[in-house]
Assembly symmetry: C2
Homo-oligomer: 412 residues x 2
C-alpha cells in the first residue's frame, strides 16, 4: 500500500520517483496528490523525504491542497531557458527539467518515471534529458515493481472509497433492472409506454445519468451487450440495438469517482422475460463455477491457480478454454479477474502465464472474480462478476453485492 512506497524504492535501489502529467485521470498522480484540478505538474518524491510538486502558477491553490511541498513553474521562466537554448524550444524544455532536478539535488543515482504522457514526446524528452545528466539513470517501471506493487494492496481509506463506489454501482444496477422490468413486450421487443423500442443506447444514457447523480464518472463506458455481442466479452454493445426477450444481456459496469479516482467493477447477465433452455444451462454452469472459485479465494493464494481451476471446471463441462486452446474465441476465453483500484485493470493479474509476484493474492488486495462462457454464433454469452476484498485477517469480503438472477421478469 501507499505506506510501502519508500520501502519499495529502497528495494529497487531508487533515489526518487518522478510523476508527470495532469492529476485527473492519471493514476500515479492521483495516488500521490489525491487528485484535483491540476492541468500539468511534476511531482518528485525522493526516498525518505516529502514530495515536491511543481505546478502552474494559476493552480497554486489546488497544488497547496495536496499537502505536498509546492514550487511554481513561474520560478523557472521559460524565456530564460529559451535564451540559453538559442530559441530551441525542445532544448529549453530539457534544460528547464534539468534545472528543476538540480534544485532538488537529484542529478545522480536512479529515478523512476511515471505518469500518463504522450509516448513519443516522453521518449524524445527523457532521452535528451538522460544525455544531459549522464550520472542520473532515468528508468521506467517496466516490471511494475514500484507503484503497481504499492497499489497491489489497499489501505483502509482506499478500500472504503472502493466500497462506496461499489454501493453506488449496485444502486445503478438496481435502477437499470427496475427500468427494464417496468417496460412491456411487443412481440419479443421491449418497448416503452408509447410503444417505442428500448435500445442499448437509451439504457446506457440512463446509466450515465444515474452514475452522474451519484458523483461517479464512466470514463471507460459500460458494456451492455445483447445477443451476439453478449458472446464477445469486450464488445460494449451497439447503441442502436433493440432489447429483445429471451436473449442474454451482459451488463458489465465499471465507473470511478469523479475526476479519475477509484473504480469498481461488476457484471450481471440478464434475460428479459424468460431464458431459453440453452441459455439457462450456460448460466447455471457459469454460476456453479462462479460460486466454486469464489469460495476458493485465499490470501497468499495465486490468481493463476484459480484461473487454471476455472478452466478445468469449464472443461469438465465440455467447454473449450484458454488452458488447452489459448486462442479459442468460444467457451471460456479470458482470464478470471484483475486487481481494481485507481486503474480499472491493475495487479494482481490472473493470466495462466502470470509471474508469481504478479498474481499473488496478498492481504489487502481488491480483485474481481469474473468467469464467463461465450458462444457468439449461438447469440449468447454469460459472465458474472463481483469485486472482492482480501482483508488482512484473511476474510474474503464481497465489497458490494447484487442478486445473480438471470431472468428479469417484466412487471406488466
Amino acid at each position: 500500500m501507499k505506506s510501502d512506497l519508500h520501502r519499495l524504492m529502497a528495494e529497487n535501489e531508487l533515489d526518487a520517483i518522478w510523476v508527470i502529467g495532469p492529476a485527473a485521470h492519471n493514476p500515479p498522480m492521483v495516488y500521490l496528490t489525491g487528485g484535483g484540478h491540476i492541468t500539468q505538474a511534476d511531482l518528485i518524491l525522493k526516498r525518505g523525504e516529502k514530495g515536491v510538486l511543481f505546478h502552474g502558477p494559476m493552480e497554486r491553490d489546488e497544488a497547496a491542497r495536496t499537502g505536498l511541498i509546492t514550487r511554481s513553474y513561474s520560478s523557472y521562466p521559460f524565456a530564460e531557458f529559451l535564451k540559453e537554448a538559442n530559441q530551441d524550444r525542445f532544448r529549453a524544455s530539457v534544460l528547464r527539467l534539468k534545472r528543476m532536478l538540480e534544485d532538488l539535488g537529484l542529478t545522480r543515482g536512479r529515478v523512476m518515471l511515471f505518469g500518463q504522457y504522450d509516448a513519443g514526446v516522453a521518449f524524445a524528452l527523457f532521452d535528451a534529458l538522460q544525455k544531459e545528466l549522464p550520472e542520473l539513470s532515468i528508468l521506467g517501471d517496466v516490471e511494475n515493481k514500484v507503484l503497481q506493487q504499492a497499489m497491489l494492496t489497499k489501505d483502509r481509506e482506499e478500500v472504503e472509497r472502493i466500497r462506496r463506489v461499489g454501493q453506488k454501482t449496485v444502486e445503478v444496477i438496481d435502477l437499470t433492472a427496475d427500468y427494464l422490468r417496468s417496460q412491456r413486450l411487443k412481440g419479443d421487443v421491449l418497448v416503452d409506454a408509447q410503444g417505442e423500442p428500448i435500445t442499448v443506447g437509451r439504457v446506457k444514457r440512463l446509466i450515465n445519468l444515474w452514475l452522474a447523480e451519484r458523483d461517479l464518472e464512466n470514463p471507460e463506458g459500460t458494456i451492455f451487450a445483447i445477443g451476439r455481442d453478449a458472446g464477445v466479452p469486450h464488445s460494449s454493445g451497439k447503441a442502436e440495438d433493440v432489447l429483445r426477450a429471451g436473449q442474454t444481456i451482459v451488463f458489465d459496469i465499471f465507473p470511478c469517482e469523479t475526476g479519475g479516482g477509484y473504480f469498481f467493477d461488476m457484471t450481471r447477465t440478464w434475460c428479459l422475460g424468460y431464458a431459453p433452455g440453452a441459455v439457462e444451462k450456460l448460466y447455471e454452469q457459469v454460476l456453479t463455477v462462479f460460486h466454486a472459485v469464489s469460495s476458493e479465494v485465499r490470501v497468499h493464494g495465486h490468481f493463476r491457480d484459480l484461473q487454471r481451476r476455472t478452466c478445468e471446471l469449464f472443461e469438465g463441462m465440455g467447454h473449450p478454454t484458454v488452458l488447452t486452446q489459448p486462442q479459442t474465441e468460444v467457451g471460456y476465453v479470458h482470464s478470471l479477474g484483475h486487481g481494481v483500484g485507481l486503474n480499472i485493470h491493475e495487479k494482481p493479474v490472473s493470466g495462466l502465464m502470470a509471474s508469481p509476484e504478479d498474481d499473488v493474492l496478498l492481504p489487502g488486495s481488491v480483485v474481481t472474480i469474473e468467469p464467463g462462457l461465450y458462444y457468439p454464433d449461438q447469440n449468447m454469452g454469460v459472465r458474472l462478476e463481483n469485486t472482492v476484498y482480501l482483508a488482512p485477517d484473511g476474510k474474503i469480503e464481497t465489497l458490494a453485492d447484487y442478486p445473480l438472477d438471470l431472468v428479469l421478469k417484466l412487471k406488466g
Copy 2:
C-alpha cells in the same frame, strides 16, 4: 485537418505514424479510429496507405467498426516471444513490437510515435526497440508538426460535433442559471426552499447530471469558483463553499462527447442578486475587451498579436498584465485563448512567446477567446469566454452563444 495527415507526413519526412494506448481519452487514437471501447491497441499508418490496427482478440468487433485494417494480438502469441527472450517479459514485449513492425515492412526510415502511455515505460520500451531496429528512427512530435498540425484545422464533421457539444453546453449553463435564480436569500446566503445553503458542490453535481443527460462527459471537471477562488483563474472552486449574493462566480465549463471526443469551452461570470460597484466596473472592463478582441479575430492573423492587444487594452485601464509583468498574479494573468478539439487545450496557442506556426489563426480553426481580470485579495475575478470557428470563407462564427450578463436576478 485530417485529410492533411499524409501531406504532413511527407513534409516531415515520415514513413509512418504509430499511435499506442487505449481509444478512450486518448486524442490521437480517437482521431484516427473514431473512438470506441478499445482497451489497448497499436495503430500504424504508413504514408499513402490505409492504417492497420493491432487489437486484443476480445475487441475484434470494436476494432472492425473503425474501418481500419485489423490484426489481432493473438496472431503474436506472447508465449512464443517469452521463449525467444528466455522468459524476460520486457524483452519479449520489445520483440513482439519488432515483429509487428517487420510484418508491416517498417524496419527502416522514420516513424513518429503518439498516444497516451506511461511515460517511464514508453521511454524504456522505445529506447530498447530503437536499439533492436537501428535503421528505423523512432521519433516524438516534440514540435507538434504532424498530428497537432493536422488537428489545428477542423473539417466540417468535426466543427458540427463541436457545435453540438456547444449547444448542449449552453443548455446546461441555462439550467444552472435558472436553478440559481429560483432559490432565495437568507441574509447574503443562497438557500433552497428548505433553507439549506446552496454549495458549490451541489451545483457541480447538478451540472454533471445535466451534462450526462445530454451524453456529455466532464473529464476535466467544472470551474465554479466564488469569491477569492474566482480571483484565481484555475481554482476550480471548493465543494463546501456556500453561494453568496454580490460575489463574483466564475463558471467555466468544458465538457466533451462521451468516451473522450470533442470538447467545447465557455465561461460566464455571475453575481447573484446584485453586483457591488467594484465588481461592476471590473466586469465592464472585461466585457469591453472581450468585444474588442472578439471583433479583431481574423483568419491568417496571429493569436499572439491578439494577446498583446488584450494586454495593452487592460494596461490602458490601469491593470497589471503578463505583457509587462510576466509573473503577475493580479490583473490579466493568462493568455487569451487556445484551440479546442479532441483536446481541451490544443493549437493554436496565444502566449506572447508563441512561435508563428503555433499561433496562426488558420481558416478552419476553432479557438476560445477568454480575457479576464483577477484580484483574489479583493475576492473577485471576471472572465468571459466564447468558442469561435474561423470558417474557410473568413467568417468568424460563435459556435454557441449565451447572454453575457453579470447579475443573476433572483425570482423570489
